[in-house]
Amino acid sequence: MLGLVVRRVLAAVPVLVLVGLIIFSILYVAPGDPAVVIAGDRASAEEIAQVREALGLNKPFLLRFVEWFWRVMQGDLGLSVFHGTPVSELILDRVGPTVSVMLMTMLFSVVIAVPMGVLAAWRAGGLTDKLVVGLAVIGFSVPVFVFGYILAFIFARELQWLPVQGYKPLSEGLWPWLRSLILPSVTLSTLYVALIARITRATLLDVLEQDYIRTARAKGAGQFTILFVHALKNAGVPIITVIGLGVALLIGGAVVTESVFAIPGLGRLTLDAIAMRDYPIIQGVVLVFSFSYVIVNLIVDLLYILIDPRIRY
């Protein structure tokens, strides 16, 4: 088993390098001078020349990439054009709220969506099923920020139960922190709930037709035990896969959700960077998010080995 784990972890290394290569290349395949982009709109000719020197544009492309990737691996993501500080520091400053919102969203989504999918599969074709399938289609169709505004309109503007905007760090107390997270997390979870509920339903429909479920029924196991213990256990792998893959959608959604609720996270950092045309920040954020996504899916793959002893790479 240790061998399996090591092999899977090593397999992620080339993916990380390729992801790095793609993100690095974007700057060079786009028309225009990379040095001008990195130095920013307001840079003087002298500053641009300095940046050109630092980027080493006279060196071969692959060598530049290797040097850049080596620095990235050591946590050096370059300097922000606007702030002049290291991009890695800016990202570390802003990562807390984003991680809080995303973890809360994942927790909330799994708790809501898995039982939804199970119930829909149990009563396949019935009213519950139609409701769940319908909600999933809506979840896929309504963009997250639209949901954000609808929820904020109802719960913050009209009912005034929750804050309209803003974020309170955990250091200001558990309740203020949770309160500031509720609306953004519920907003962000709509798409994720749709995704997880749909795959749970589809997988469970297959599993429920298998012989061992009939056996369980025959020996008198209760409906709840059959659905949530026997069936769900075997539906675990596809569900966890989708939870992992869905993180990509979550990341995209987080950027927008943060701007709806004025949360000072990575999404807000990206938004400001777009407005300031601060490309090093944009590159850094894309890199950090993509690497996290690869690592989340690596963890998901490792979980397979734990929960399903049949899986062998």
């Binding site: 793609i22 974007i26 289609v137 963009p143 505004y149 990509a248 777009i274 944009i282």
Partner: protein, 282 residues
């Protein structure tokens, strides 16, 4: 090929049974009409500024009210359908072409499959919205740059679906039979495999279309998409961002149009999937 083609020809009866698809086609048709005939639907110039008339609530003259520089919101929203549909349809078409080519090559030529799939895995490890932001932030916003950026971000998913279909088709007896009678690889790919990848391609392309519309609106909402001078639903919502507590209609009208359009495309996609049922292809 007989199976799915015949199913498609029996479409009217399918439509009667599939209420979702019928609703999707009707809603999408309405949006297409809005986009095509925008100037004839009681609209005024969507970019005409009229500061005297700013921030007006909905009225007989301005059905959806006006924004902070007095532009007619109804006209802007109706014209916004053009941007969304152009982006959605062109991205879907470009992705389908590129994805088909990459998928066919990857699925048919073993030597290239490994390299192409690793690249596709890596591309898919970059969340689409972020990849698109990284590209449009470099290029400065324009309709074309948004379309190209979203196409690049969405193509890998289609290539992967096509490749998967090609791999499963290759195992089928009729392909083996063609090889046995000496058909060239080119002929097998173009005559026997390509037509049978189309149902799965069509279904996937419809989902890419829906996704492209959402990504475009997110990009425009964040200021990394369509230039603010062009009325797109994302841009209108971005304009309303600071004002929405006072004037929620600036957000809600474009939001409703966007959601309905994406819902319509998704319903059509689900309908196509049920109609062409890729499971029958295996």
């Amino acid at each position: 090929m007989g199976g799915p083609a015949a199913t498609a020809l029996r479409a009217p009866s399918v439509w009667r049974r599939d209420k979702g698809m019928t609703l999707g086609v009707a809603l999408l048709g309405t949006m297409v009409i809005c986009a095509l005939f925008a100037p004839l639907l009681g609209t005024v110039d969507p970019t005409a500024i009229n500061p005297v008339n700013r921030l007006k609530p909905p009225s007989a003259e301005h059905w959806f009210g006006t924004d902070m520089v007095g532009r007619d919101l109804y006209s802007r929203v109706i014209y916004g359908a053009r941007v969304s549909l152009i982006v959605g349809l062109s991205v879907a078409a470009l992705c389908a072409l590129a994805g088909l080519a990459i998928g066919l090559v990857s699925g048919s030529i073993r030597q290239l499959d490994g390299v192409i799939m690793r690249l596709i895995d890596a591309m898919m490890s970059i969340p689409p919205v972020l990849l698109a932001i990284a590209l449009t932030a470099l290029w400065r916003g324009s309709l074309v740059s948004v379309i190209v950026a979203v196409t690049l971000a969405e193509t890998p998913s289609i290539a992967r679906v096509v490749r998967g279909t090609v791999l499963s088709l290759r195992e089928l007896p009729y392909v083996e039979a063609s090889t046995a009678v000496g058909a060239s690889m080119m002929r097998i790919i173009l005559v026997h495999i390509l037509p049978n990848t189309l149902p799965a391609l069509l279904v996937q392309a419809s989902y890419v279309c829906a996704s492209a519309m959402i990504v475009e609106s997110i990009l425009s909402f964040l200021g990394a998409g369509i230039p603010p001078s062009i009325p797109s639903w994302g841009n209108i919502m971005a304009d309303g961002r600071s004002l929405w507590l006072v004037l929620p209609q600036i957000i809600f009208f474009p939001a409703a149009f966007l959601s309905i359009t994406v819902l319509a495309v998704n319903l059509v996609g689900d309908g196509l999937r049920d109609m062409l049922d890729p499971r029958q292809m295996k």
